[in-house]
């Protein structure tokens, strides 16, 4: 019976990947980092675990299991560590690999899937021969159920050649922007970090989460990366997205295609965001946003 291999570092990720992987029949799990292997064993599949979570160690562990099990399908969540680790496995055996895939269907000796293409402006439907490596998009499939049987747990070791000298956790504000219903998002139109409070006040009045464009998170670091909306950041799907001082670079727009209503506030009337919004206000954000906040408060509490 063909087997699939699921790779991940959290039970949520692994349970979603298992839903896709079980289309093929049996599966094994390769878990890495700090994860409860006892709980993973309750899905009824053999669990291999490597304690390290750097991409090279994960690759070495995955390779060891791949060589032993020879799976027909490798399913994992899409994240940076696994893009790295699984690109190496794919390169080693010339396996097709795709990221952010959904609608995965396995039939016979091939798999098909859909994924974003052209910086989020298109969707591509692909077909690849097995064995294949598929990194799935988050929250598109339900989690797999646990089983009566308990899988065996095997510990693996890895000795990477790249040495980790220092490691700093990223700043996390505890926000989950991807599931937010209302988002007020900030961009380079703000002249200083302190000025962001204008947006925070509007967000508070609306009960919205704070998002931001690439420069605010990646270059200026005024906000943590969990606020970053866009192709390299987070893809969001709120019912209202208010873009303040955001010009609307294609990579940012790719992150908001699923927003129901987009509002843009910007003083540059030629900014591309105005071609990609439902309602636009051409105004100096420093003047307009406080007035908008005030009116939101007054109208919500009348």
């Amino acid at each position: 019976m063909p087997t699939s291999m699921v790779v991940g570092s959290s039970e949520d990720d692994i349970a979603e990947a298992l839903t896709v992987a079980r289309q093929l029949g049996d599966a094994v799990i390769v878990a890495y980092g700090n994860v409860n292997t006892g709980s993973l064993a309750e899905y009824g599949h053999k669990v291999y675990h490597v304690k390290a979570d750097d991409p090279e160690s994960v690759f070495l562990a995955v390779k060891q299991v791949y060589d032993e099990v020879k799976p027909s399908l490798i399913v994992a969540p899409t994240n940076k560590n696994l893009k790295d680790a699984l690109s190496r496995l794919s390169g080693l055996y010339d396996l097709p690999m795709a990221t952010e895939v959904f609608n995965v269907k396995v039939s016979g000796s091939s798999a098909s899937y859909t994924r974003g293409f052209l910086s989020g402006r298109a969707l591509e439907d692909d077909q690849v021969p097995l064995p294949a490596v598929l990194l799935i998009a988050a929250r598109k499939v339900p989690r797999a159920q646990k089983s009566q049987a308990k899988g065996e747990v095997v510990e693996l070791q890895a000795s990477p050649t790249v040495k980790v000298i220092e490691r700093r956790p990223k700043e996390r504000g505890g926000v989950n922007i991807e599931t937010a219903e209302l988002i007020v998002s900030v961009g380079r139109g703000f002249r200083s970090k302190e000025d962001l409070k204008l947006a925070f006040e509007l967000a508070e009045a609306l009960g919205a989460q704070i998002g931001c464009s690439r420069p605010i998170a990646a270059d200026l670091k005024w906000l943590g990366e969990d606020h970053w909306v866009g192709l390299s950041g987070h893809k969001v799907a709120p019912r209202l997205y208010v873009a303040i001082g955001i010009s609307g670079a294609p990579q940012h727009l790719a992150g908001i295609t699923d927003a129901k209503v987009v509002v843009a506030i910007n003083n540059d009337k030629s900014a591309p965001i105005f071609k990609n919004c439902d309602y636009g206000v051409v105004a100096d954000l420093y003047q307009f946003v406080p007035v908008l906040t005030k009116r939101v408060k007054e109208r919500l509490h009348r």
Binding site: D84, L89, E166, R167, R168, V282, V296
Partner: protein
């Protein structure tokens, strides 16, 4: 010190997307351009060469994913010349209609085949973290494993220390500082530098630099594409694009809130 190889992709330009009647992506219409993050890779190659690799050469390798050559040749050369203008010394271009549309399996194997065939001995291979068309970020990792070299992905700062590279990399939950022995493969993020536009003199000089056109028959070990692109549809996001104006900012704010309330997205 050895040479530097930088991977440059002539990518479909997503900003020029157009659909056919049935909403499919009109590939024939879409032009190619140098993938954005590859500019950062070239910039980093030039900066590292100037700082640590004086006298070394920078080679670029491009594998054409989107054909046919008869239609794409001009765009491909423009993209590659941008690299030459920025400081690449010599370019290799694999353009062959028998491997288009390509995929990362083909691209990585062709890059490795070029390195072997032309005897390139890079100490460093640089690439962008992903390309603007496919955005799956897997070619650099594939090249590294095929050449048996250490791979440092998502680097946003790179320094050389003796015969090692020290890089700050941006992985999922951490920022890591890592050290890897050379030769190594490094993929870079946009934050690593601010690419300088080439000067007019550089642009003029670029057309005189060597550009080697490579066919599949010149190479060994190139794997034909495994991905079959069954369909590609334009994602039509229709926005109303209504500009809201009022005599005062209060009036503008109220009109905006009225509109949002009638959409049912807020209660105000």
């Amino acid at each position: 010190m050895g040479d530097i190889v930088v991977l440059l992709k002539p990518a479909l330009n997503p900003e020029m997307i157009r659909g056919t009647q049935d909403g499919s992506v009109d590939f024939d219409y879409m032009p190619l351009k140098l993938s954005d993050i590859d500019r950062n890779a070239v910039e980093e190659a030039v900066m590292l060469r100037d700082q640590y690799f004086k006298g070394s050469k920078i080679y670029s390798i491009s594998v054409v994913t989107w054909g046919p050559a008869s239609k794409r040749d001009k765009d491909v050369k423009m993209a590659v010349q941008e690299g030459l203008a920025k400081g690449v010394d010599e370019a290799y271009i694999v353009e062959d209609d028998s491997i288009v549309p390509g995929d990362p399996v083909t691209t990585a194997s062709a890059i490795v085949a070029v390195i072997r065939k032309f005897g390139l001995k890079p100490d460093l291979i640089l690439a962008g973290e992903a390309t603007i068309d496919g955005f799956s970020g897997q070619v650099a990792g594939r090249v590294a494993v095929k050449l048996g070299l250490p791979y440092v992905s998502f680097a946003r700062k790179v320094e050389l220390k003796g015969n090692s590279i020290v890089a700050e990399r941006d992985v999922e939950d951490y920022v890591e500082v890592v050290e890897a022995p050379l030769p190594a493969v490094v993929s870079v993020t946009r934050e690593i530098n601010a690419p300088r536009p080439p000067t007019l003199v550089q642009i003029r000089m670029a057309s005189r630099k060597p550009q080697h056109m490579v066919k599949l028959s010149d190479l060994e070990g190139v794997v034909t594409p495994k991905r079959r692109l069954a369909a590609a549809r334009v994602l039509a996001v229709k926005r109303k694009q209504m500009i809201i104006e009022g005599k005062t900012l209060e009036e503008t704010a109220d009109k905006l809130l009225d509109a949002l309330a009638s959409e049912g997205v807020i209660k105000a």
